[in-house]
């Protein structure tokens, strides 16, 4: 038995409610945190930051957000791209209108603004359910993109409608703008991802989380036992959009530095994030990270393998990459419909019994 919990007893309800009740898990978690905060920043370079770590962390935040809405509250949304755009444009307007205020506050405010917009578009969820709702959220996606493209105020009347992130600093280190160093980018995203994951964990283990899950699992019954569907659904939309808005703000300001709404926040973004949570695992915080890692890393790996390793022409590689990504998605869904998180949990369950089969 490699993985044991025998001897790991809880003596209070507080201990019993902690995030990693099993000691081994707790250690693994602390070790991962230590590596992420204390080691990676010193060895990261531009390529790793920009191609892997920063997008991974930002998408993990977005995935967390969508997972709260879809995985926990059961409301499928395809409007993630649009909400990310709200975050991006909000932070852009805030950055350029109040340059003297710290960027962290801007990013948080951008999340707040997105939360409000999210609630607005969440209103139909009271009537519309299932795939009808999913498709209805596309209205948000397309409308928001159109709005940011159309109203010049949002992009400060620039000729082409592109927005550019000016340089902003935290403690004297640039975190946005072209001069940002790789560790700075990485760290700000890491701090946000870490803090938000913690918040998500808190919300989902408490009463809010239970209300969301109740609505997800059986909305009528939830209402009859006392869950107010209005507040439960709207709060899910709000929290989810808050996360997604922050992800959008970071994506634009820290990662891309410049963005054009239709291109950076198009419908593909919505699907990408949805993929992440499904591959990672609906209703799982760990799954959001796992899914984001998978979807960010896979194309990079495949590209390096097919073009760099095998020397195939780029277009052939790109097409085959599409096929492989598609096939892998299907494969994963077949192998474990509940995502990487469940796969991991099952592995642990098996390890616990190992070497016995049942």
């Amino acid at each position: 038995m490699l993985y044991r919990e025998a001897g790991d007893f809880k003596t209070s309800y507080r201990d019993d409610g902690q995030t990693f009740p099993i000691r081994l898990d707790r250690w693994a978690y602390y070790a991962a945190l230590a590596v992420a905060f204390l080691i990676v920043p010193f060895i990261i370079n531009d390529y790793w930051a920009n191609a892997v770590f920063v997008p991974f962390l930002i998408y993990a935040i977005a995935a967390l957000g969508l997972n709260i809405l879809t995985g926990y509250a059961g409301q499928v949304s395809l409007g993630t791209g649009g909400f990310m755009a709200v975050g991006a444009y909000a932070v852009y307007k805030l950055m350029t209108s109040f340059p003297e205020i710290n960027i962290v506050i801007h990013i948080l405010l951008a999340g707040g603004i997105t939360a409000i917009v999210g609630m607005l578009f969440g209103l139909p969820s009271l009537r519309i359910k299932g795939f009808y709702l999913a498709v209805a959220t596309l209205a948000a996606q397309f409308f928001l993109v159109w709005l940011f493209n159309k109203v010049p105020w949002f992009y400060n009347y620039s000729a082409s409608g592109q927005i550019n992130a000016p340089e902003r600093t935290i403690l004297g280190f640039a975190v946005t703008g072209p001069a940002t160093s790789a560790p700075a980018k990485y760290l700000i995203c890491l701090v946000f991802a870490f803090a938000l994951a913690w918040v998500a964990r808190n919300l989902t283990r408490g009463m809010s989380g239970r209300k969301w899950m109740a609505i997800r699992d059986m909305d009528i019954a939830a209402e009859i036992i006392g869950v107010n569907p209005l507040t439960a659904k709207l709060s899910a939309f709000a929290v989810s959009s808050f996360f997604v808005g922050i992800a959008g703000a970071l994506l634009f300001s820290v990662y891309l530095g410049a963005a054009e709404v239709g291109e950076a926040f198009g419908i593909n973004k919505s699907f990408l994030v949805l993929f992440m949570i499904i591959i990672g695992g609906l209703g799982s915080i760990f799954g959001s990270f796992a899914g984001a890692a998978f979807m960010v890393l896979l194309p990079v790996l495949l590209k390096n393998l097919l073009v760099g390793g095998l020397g195939w022409p780029t277009d052939l590689a790109a097409h085959i990459e599409l096929m492989i990504v598609g096939a892998l998605i299907v494969f994963f869904l077949i192998a474990e419909p509940h995502g990487l998180a469940r796969l991991w949990a099952l592995t642990k369950e098996k390890l616990r019994l190992w070497p016995f089969p049942h």
Partner: protein, 332 residues
């Protein structure tokens, strides 16, 4: 001044009419969705890509392209492109139909079979995976360049209608001949499909499967057969949509994006209703054209992408299952 007003009205009528026709084109794509949703509860995102794949295959067969030529050339340094023959349209369509059946068979065998009883969202995701795969496959098989699709469907303004209306009303209406054909074909398709679903044994079995997979299995309905059948039909509908849209704007990647235009149509018509797809298509087509035309200029245009969705959304707020969708049975 009066004449001007009349002109305005005629023009509005013209926009409306063209909206109807465009709606039919959307409905063609939506129909495939409905079929698959009805029979398996699967929200098939890959329907658009299926249309692209069908159109690519059709052109490829028609022009005697060597499948996977690019890959073969890249691997073996050869220079093959074409077999050097062309295939008549009708035969090519039949062959493509056969390919679509084969594809349906493979999809069932490799994907759906393993996902029986999973949550709808999982199935939905699987179809997105499928969409990626087919998109890549289509490109690898037939190349990513823009292709011309010509199966002899006429295109361009119908001059008969233009001159006739010019004589009657003093205003020549613009109607695209392709749209007229699309309307005819769509009407035929819908009539056939409705008859099939409602009045045949297999159609009933298909609806049974949609309601309850396990129960369907328990009465001896072979899910595999029903799914292969439905996906084949959907593949055929995709082929029709692919031919129409391919004739209209060439066969290339963006063809798969028409799926996005079909979604609001579905919402409005109801995911499970074949006539709903048509009616939804008409409402969306007319709605978005009129809106773009009358309101669009005031708010900067390019409203078509979102307006259809907002229209469908508003509509759903009042009727959550769409116009003709099955009422959602809510009991505890």
């Amino acid at each position: 001044m009066g004449g001007n007003l009349m002109d305005q009205m005629f023009f509005a009528a013209e926009v409306l009419l063209n909206g109807l026709m465009t709606g039919v084109m959307y409905a063609l794509v939506a129909l495939g969705f409905v079929l698959i949703f009805k029979a398996s509860g699967v929200f098939n995102y890959a329907q658009g890509v299926l249309a692209l794949f069908a159109a690519l295959t059709l052109v490829g067969i028609q022009q005697g392209q060597v499948p996977f030529a690019h890959m073969i050339n890249a691997m073996f340094g050869t220079h093959i492109e074409h077999f050097g023959w062309t295939v008549p349209s009708v035969l090519a369509i039949l062959l493509t139909g056969a390919v679509m059946v084969l594809l349906a068979f493979l999809i069932e065998k490799l994907v759906l079979q393993h996902l029986i009883g999973q949550a709808p969202i999982i199935l939905f995701m699987a179809t997105i995976g499928l969409a990626y795969f087919l998109e890549g496959l289509g490109d690898v098989m037939w190349g990513a360049d823009i292709k011309n699709l010509d199966v002899g469907l006429p295109q361009g303004i119908s001059e008969t209608i233009e001159t006739a209306t010019a004589e009657w009303f003093g205003y020549g209406f613009f109607i695209d001949r392709l749209d007229i054909w699309a309307t005819l074909i769509a009407a035929l398709l819908v009539a056939a499909l409705v008859g099939f679903a409602q009045y045949t044994k297999q159609g009933r079995a298909m609806r049974a499967v949609a309601d309850d997979h396990q129960a369907a299995l328990s009465v001896g309905i072979s899910l595999r057969f029903i799914w292969v059948m439905v996906w084949s039909i959907a593949g055929f509908v995709a082929l029709v949509a692919g031919v129409m849209w391919g004739t209209k704007s060439g066969v290339q990647f963006s063809l798969s994006l028409i799926a996005l235009k079909a979604l609001p149509v579905l919402m409005l018509g109801g995911f499970t209703s074949i006539p709903g797809a048509i009616v939804g298509g008409l409402v969306i087509g007319v709605g978005e054209k009129l809106f773009e035309f009358f309101v669009g200029p005031m708010i900067g245009g390019a409203t078509e992408n979102w307006f259809a969705y907002v229209l469908a959304l508003l509509f759903l707020v009042f009727r959550p299952q769409g116009l003709f969708g099955e009422r959602i049975i809510e009991r505890v």
